[in-house]
């Protein structure tokens, strides 16, 4: 071995490299000529790089992650063998907590640490349950190191070249397995934002590569499950349904007035005043049903429901038309001889209705019926839509976001 526990002499340029990892460092790239070598090995083991890249977290930089101060020991650029995409990994070290990694791809960062005593997933498993959480297989890959800088506690070339990797995700977490012929390493990772990385290492956010797309462990902005959202929605709709059924079963639906009128009774009057009737209780609905025996004709009327005690008026209009015929061998009809008007929130009291009818050519009479406290299912339908629309939008958004997350995976559950 050239050098001592804290100094390693470069076998190429003969410069002395002061080792940050002291005796733990087994491999390094020379701080002066940048060749990568294994301490104590011969010159034939030296590696020079065609690729060169400066780490955005310089070697020796210290940062605090999860209240542990780590020092950046090494930097590696890896390239996947099949699809040729590359990513960067930083080796971090703390004398008490050991080593960990920061991995970055397309501006997305994961803090990764080794875990022990965990039974690995089987070779063909598409998901893995770890600490009660299901992790789905995202990728299987093998990679090569195309660039290394700094110090390492293992030969990154040898380890990277000889291992088959599998990564399972449960955003924001990942679970990885690196398997070689004679070793198996499991690790867990968690997504960290660019801002958190910049803050941890006290560097300017703009020095970090910009984020592109959705990271494979990036949280999607919601911290609840779709199942919970659907459950809460179902409970709310269920409660509303019970209330609606209660309203339907307790509604009075009481006929408080019925009258039949003809044009001949009006003489020179322009309107008809009905007899007075009582509407009981507090504010409740009123339904006015109108029948007119129209045939290829119409009937139109303006109505004014008048509270005889307060003078309050509730005015509305209704048109009834019914047309029918025989054309091209087929009978047809449109419209109806019946119409109804629903009036909301009518206080109790004594009322009458002034009716201003406009008769058509044939029909010269009409009938009205006034019903107090008529329930309506329309509100429930609107409520159900207003509630269901939230999980629907959430589901669509989730599918779009998750589809983008999984688009680079060969194991996407969103491929149709």
């Amino acid at each position: 071995m050239s050098g001592s526990n804290t100094i390693s002499r470069c076998p190429k340029c003969n410069a002395e490299n002061v080792l940050r990892g002291k005796a733990m460092t087994t491999n390094l790239s020379c701080y002066y000529c940048n060749i990568y070598y294994t301490i104590g090995k011969y010159k034939t083991e030296m590696v020079t790089f065609n690729h060169k890249e400066e780490p955005v977290l310089p070697i020796g930089l210290k940062g605090r992650i999860d209240n542990v101060v780590y020092e950046v020991m090494g930097f590696v650029v890896k390239k996947e063998r099949r699809y040729k995409y590359s990513w960067n990994e930083y080796l971090l070290f703390n004398p008490f907590h050991g080593y960990a990694f920061l991995s970055t791809y397309d501006g997305h960062w994961n803090f990764i640490w080794p875990i022990e005593d965990t039974p690995p997933p089987n070779e063909n498993d598409f998901y893995y349950t770890f600490e009660g959480t299901r992790y789905d297989l995202y990728q299987k890959y093998s990679a090569d190191v195309v660039y290394a800088k700094g110090e390492f506690f293992f030969d990154v070339f040898e380890i990277t070249e000889s291992t088959a990797n599998r990564e399972f995700i449960a955003p924001p977490f990942l679970y990885g397995v690196e398997k070689s012929d004679d070793s198996l390493l499991s690790f867990k990772g968690e997504y960290v934002t660019r801002r958190e990385v910049a803050k941890a290492f006290d560097i300017d956010l703009s020095t970090l590569p910009p984020k592109q797309g959705i990271g494979y462990t990036q949280p999607t902005g919601t911290s609840f499950s779709q199942r919970s959202l659907v459950t809460v929605t179902a409970i709310l709709i269920g409660v509303a349904l019970i209330i609606q059924l209660f309203f339907n079963s307790t509604a009075e639906e009481k006929e408080v007035f019925q009258g039949r009128y003809s044009q001949t009774e009006m003489n020179e009057q322009k309107f008809i005043k009905t007899e007075s009737f009582n509407l009981s209780g507090g504010e409740k609905s009123v339904e006015v049903d109108i029948w007119a025996p129209v045939s290829n004709d119409y009937f139109f009327a303006e109505f004014s429901l008048i509270n005889e005690e307060t003078g309050a008026e509730y005015s509305f209009a209704k048109e009834i038309e019914y047309y029918l015929g025989y054309e091209d061998g087929e009978s047809w009809s449109e419209g109806s001889t019946y119409g109804e008007a629903f009036i909301s929130q009518i206080p109790g009291g004594r009322y009458h209705i002034n009716i201003y009818p406009e008769f058509g050519r044939n029909a010269h009479e009409f009938t009205i019926r006034v019903i107090r406290d008529v329930p309506s299912n329309m509100n429930f339908m609107i409520l159900a839509i207003a509630l269901v629309i939230v999980p629907v939008i959430f589901g669509i958004r989730k599918r779009v976001v998750e589809g983008r997350r999984w688009q680079d995976s060969n194991y996407s559950p969103y491929d149709s």
Partner: protein
């Protein structure tokens, strides 16, 4: 369903409770949210506006 999910869903739950509350109030007073029968109200306490352009003739 986990408690943490309920906490995360607090705004949706508040939205839902508000809608169900208004739905209940509407059911009690007989209010239809989208009433196909436009109704003009006049002469009630606190409302003195008149709707212009209508052909209504009031004869109390």
């Amino acid at each position: 369903m986990k408690l943490v999910d309920l906490k995360a869903l607090k705004y949706f739950i508040a939205y839902g409770v508000m809608i169900v509350g208004f739905f209940t109030y509407s059911g009690i007073v007989g209010k239809k949210w989208f009433n196909p029968t436009p109704t003009h109200r006049e002469g009630q306490p606190g409302t003195s506006h008149r709707v212009h352009g209508t052909g209504y003739r009031y004869h109390k």
